[in-house]
Amino acid sequence: MTGPSRRVGTPLFLERGVYRRRRLIDAAKLLPFLAMALFLIPAWLSSGNDGAPGQTSAHLIYFFAAWLLLIAVALWLSHALHRSEGADTSEEDTPPVGPAE
């Protein structure tokens, strides 16, 4: 094998637009993990074993605020990804290893 193959004509560094798009994709991939943290951790914190029970109304506000925040981020990401669509023709999940970061 010749190692991770670099496609003919791929430059060593990506141009700015493509770079931005790659980072947007990274953000889109990270978003669900942020969401998991926001949605699941309070269940531990409020579980009755070692602390006082949580207040339903406060958590209600918390959950909807977090939810709205995540939706806003997703909205922004969706639009930004849509705008940058022409920048990178490669729709690969993982960009070629090695060059172009």
Partner: protein
């Protein structure tokens, strides 16, 4: 007061509106217009089939019982959609590229088109969906009952169980009708239903508006604002939130798994899908929709708990609260919201399930029950459509039966979660299909079966009430380790979490283990590559550089195209060249290119490139398509060779016809010639007879003259008679009539007779080997003697030697006897040898011959009748004839027949 009849009319009007919208959308779509029908908005709204009557009514009930827990049902899907780049994007891409028709189709085609897996997933989906449909029927009937009982206060009898069942029956029938009308109107290859999707989108708006309206009324109309509502929450029975983390996580996981695995979600998310960009919009819009749907759930629940009398069913607060507060318009709107939630779920689920049932169970059965090769494509369409219609009726019928059997239990959300946990069993196999090339069919089978079984034992069967309290207490078969809700002593968990934990983890572990231990078929490996690498190589058209291509895959495909021996020889040669004489060659770029060229020779360059590209993970043609292409080209080759054979046959026929025509023409010429020859032959003796008889009629004839003339006349008439006899003989022989008188005889005797009759003893010196002639044969002796006489007479007549000799030799050759008659004369000139057997073919002076010239022609016919032949021996010194005659007449003819 809203009367019950008014409500029924409203519901009917609403359904009529759905019909109109669906019909209109179908019509627009078939004209190719109305792009907004396929907009991100419609897509997002159609995703709302996730929110069923269970979420519409049941979420409030859940909130009234356990506070914030209802949120998990919405948070799970939110997680999945926020993380769309991971799973949904790939699912949708694969679904579109491979024209996947259902989740069963996806699983089965990833694992090598396994029909067993497809059936298993279909059954699982059916088992998971039936209670859910029952749930929808239940909520609609309960909401009808609420109004009926409200008007009961005005003197009408309250509803009992049979009224509920009747309502459920009519609702189920109406839904079946709608689904059949719009779900099976046409058989689209993409399984898309524009009318249904648009109607679903409308329903999404209706249920959202209804729930928001009730919520706004409760928060601002009843409680007096957000702050007051929060205070009411703080004062309610659910004021404190003390979740079990395991249940919280378990339910979030369950709803996240469900939105990927539910057949109806797969239908709207992947199958009805038209543009990949819609998904990116839905990644925020669908969570927003879910947020809006859940926003007022808790306020409605706590206000309901505060306002409504104790014992009121919290599952119906959305409806009973406005009624209680005399907001009848709002109540009707809420009723419509619940109605639309239920109907949209049932319609889409029935479409999805009927597709699965007809594609994976009915059609395969139907095809296998038919004689091979007898299918017409029109047949199949009818079968598919009919089976789908029957399946829809069956599915709704099952839901109705389930509803009647369980008697409409009160906790709506319990049934919903059981359903979710059932379909979530598909998740390990599904994720493995998308992300792990090593996942095998056996692994998926094992995981699914184990998960299905554990889910049934730990959750589904107890929920249906199939296990008595004894079984739950003492375990299956009295074994305490097998207590359905506390397997192997795990008793600290909530039954739902317990079931999820056991079923999903055993499912996953078995799936992984069995996959690791088994070896996938080539088809599975091909599909695995193309599923897992669904996004690879959209820009890799410059050569085969990526290392994903596998030698086995290439070999399989090459064998299909070139034939096993040639493909293996090619691979062995390459392996030897690479210095690996025992194994398969590495798929180096050079080798792949070589292979592509080889394949291009048999299927054409474009196809070869596409096929290699496919195995390389570059193109989005399915392996099935490829195999179809390969089969097709094989068929085409066969077809063209058939055509070749046919045209060859035609040419042969034409040649035969030409030959026949030539023969006929020649025969006609021959006949004319024959007639003129016959008349000529008849004319010569007739002329002399006439003239000599005229002489004799004159006076003054001497007796000597008279005698001479009458002798001439006599001779000439003898000659005429002979000629006519010969002609007659010949025509009898040629027409194949005339009897043969076969007998056992001896060749020497026959030749003796012939020599004697020919009177050749004086003129010819005969050279014979009489002992060699001592052969017995079964034939017609008279006819054979006739031939011999003819040949010997000819030798006597035409031999030009000073002392004519005739050598007669006889021998056995196989089953034939050969007799050669060779004289010592000059022979026959080569140019005329071909003519001697023709009629009237006299070579020399006619008078000298004194015969009609039919002798050899007759001989040839006689020999043909006797099963032998007479030929002229060209390489002898003098004239030579060879007569071949079978030793036993009849045996040769039998052989020839």
């Amino acid at each position: 007061m809203v009367t019950f009849n008014f409500l029924v009319l409203t519901a009917l009007a609403y359904v009529a509106l759905l019909f109109v919208v669906a019909f209109w959308a179908d019509a627009r779509a078939s004209r190719g217009g109305a792009r907004w029908l396929r907009s991100p908005l419609t897509y997002t709204l159609s995703l709302s089939v996730y929110c069923t009557a269970w979420t519409f009514y049941g979420a409030v009930g859940n909130a009234a019982r356990s506070g914030l827990e209802y949120l998990t049902i919405y948070l799970g899907p939110t997680l999945v959609f926020l993380g769309w780049w991971w799973i949904l994007r790939k699912l949708v891409r694969i679904g579109r590229a491979r024209r996947i028709t259902s989740i069963a189709d996806l699983i089965s085609s990833r694992y090598g088109k396994s029909s067993a897996l497809a059936v298993l997933v279909t059954l699982l989906a059916l088992a998971g969906t039936t209670p859910y449909i029952a749930l929808q029927l239940q909520s609609v009937t309960l909401s009808f009952a609420v109004f009926a009982n409200a008007s009961a206060d005005a003197g009408v009898a309250r509803w009992d169980q049979s009224d509920l069942q009747t309502t459920a029956f009519w609702v189920a029938s109406g839904l079946a009708l709608f689904t059949i009308l719009f779900g099976t109107r046409n058989l689209d290859t993409n399984e898309r239903h524009h009318g249904v999707v648009t109607a679903i989108a409308l329903e999404a708006v209706v249920k959202l508006v209804a729930l928001l309206a009730v919520g706004v009324f409760v928060v601002w109309g009843v409680s007096g604002g957000i702050g007051d509502t929060l205070q009411i929450i703080a004062a309610s029975p659910v004021a404190e939130w003390q979740p079990q983390p395991s249940r919280w996580i378990g339910m979030t996981f369950l709803s996240a798994a469900a939105i990927i695995c539910l057949p109806r979600m797969f239908q709207v998310m992947v199958v009805e899908y038209s543009d990949e960009r819609h998904l990116s919009a839905a990644s925020w819009a669908f969570p927003l929709y879910l947020l809006a749907m859940s926003l007022f759930v808790l306020p409605i629940a706590v206000v309901g708990l505060a306002v409504l009398p104790d014992g009121a069913n919290p599952d119906l607060f959305v409806l009973t609260l406005p009624l209680e507060l005399d907001q009848e318009g709002l109540a009707v709107l809420a009723f419509l919201g619940g109605f639309s939630s239920a109907t949209s779920m049932v319609i889409v689920a029935a479409i999805a399930l009927s597709t699965m049932i007809s594609n994976h169970i009915v059609v395969p059965l139907w095809l296998s029950s038919r004689p091979k090769g007898a299918t017409v494509s029109g047949d199949l369409r009818q079968v598919v459509i009919t089976s789908r219609r029957l399946a829809i009726i069956g599915i709704l019928g099952l839901g109705y039966i389930y509803f009647r059997v369980t008697g409409g239990s009160n906790a709506l959300s319990a049934i919903g979660l059981v359903s979710f946990a059932g379909v979530a069993q598909v998740l390990p196999a599904l994720l493995g299909a998308l992300f792990w090339r090593g996942a095998t069919r056996a692994g998926a089978m094992a995981g699914l079966c184990a998960g299905f079984a554990l889910w049934s034992i730990t959750l589904a069967l107890p929920a249906v009430g199939l296990f008595g309290p004894d079984t739950l207490q003492d375990g299956l078969f009295g074994t305490s380790l097998l207590r359905p809700q506390a397997l192997f002593g795990v008793s600290s968990l909530d039954p739902l979490v317990h079931s999820i934990l056991w079923s999903i983890s055993v499912n996953t572990v078995l799936f992984l283990l069995v996959s690791l231990m088994t070896f996938p078929s080539p088809m599975e490996r091909l599909q695995g590559v193309s599923f897992v690498n669904a996004f690879d190589g959209t820009d890799a058209q410059r050569g085969w550089v990526s290392g994903t291509v596998e030698s086995e895959d290439l070999l399989v495909m090459t064998q299909r195209l070139l034939g096993a021996r040639q493909a293996q020889a090619l691979f062995q040669h390459e392996a030897a060249r690479q210095g690996k004489p025992d194994g398969l060659p590495d798929p180096t770029p050079a080798f792949v290119e070589l292979l592509e060229r080889e394949l291009a020779g048999s299927v054409g360059a474009a196809t070869a490139h596409a096929m290699i590209g496919q195995i390389n993970g570059d193109a989005v043609i399915s392996v099935d398509d490829l195999l179809a292409v390969a089969d097709e080209s094989a068929q085409m080759l066969e077809h063209s060779s058939q055509l070749e054979a046919k045209s060859e046959e035609l040419q042969q026929t034409a040649r035969q016809l030409r030959l026949a025509n030539e023969k006929l023409t020649a025969l006609s010429v021959q006949k004319d010639a024959f007639l003129s020859q016959v008349s000529h032959e008849l004319r010569t003796p007739m002329t002399s007879i006439r003239s000599f008889s005229e002489f004799m009629m004159e006076d003054g004839m001497t007796p000597a003259e008279r005698t001479r003339y009458s002798t001439i006349i006599h001779d000439e008439s003898l000659r005429l008679t002979r000629l006519l006899d010969d002609l007659l003989d010949l025509s009898v022989l040629e027409s194949g009539q005339g009897q043969l008188n076969e007998a056992w005889t001896n060749l020497r005797d026959l030749i003796d007779r012939a020599v004697a009759s020919a009177g050749a003893d004086g003129k010819l010196i005969l050279k014979r080997d009489r002992s060699a002639e001592d052969l017995s044969l079964f034939t017609d002796p008279d006819r054979l003697v006739q031939v011999f006489i003819n040949v010997i007479t000819n030798a006597g007549k035409y031999c030009t030697a000073a002392s004519p000799e005739l050598a007669i030799t006889a021998r056995v050759s196989g089953t034939m006897i050969e007799i050669d008659f060779v004289d010592n004369g000059a022979g026959i000139p080569a140019a005329q040898q071909a003519l001697i057997f023709e009629k009237f073919a006299r070579l020399s002076d006619q008078a000298a011959a004194g015969s009609a010239g039919l002798g050899l022609a007759i001989c040839r016919e006689v020999m043909a009748r006797l099963g032998g032949e007479i030929t002229y021996l060209a390489d002898q010194q003098g004239a030579g004839f060879r007569i071949q005659v079978p030793q036993r007449l009849g045996s040769v003819e039998k052989l020839r027949a």
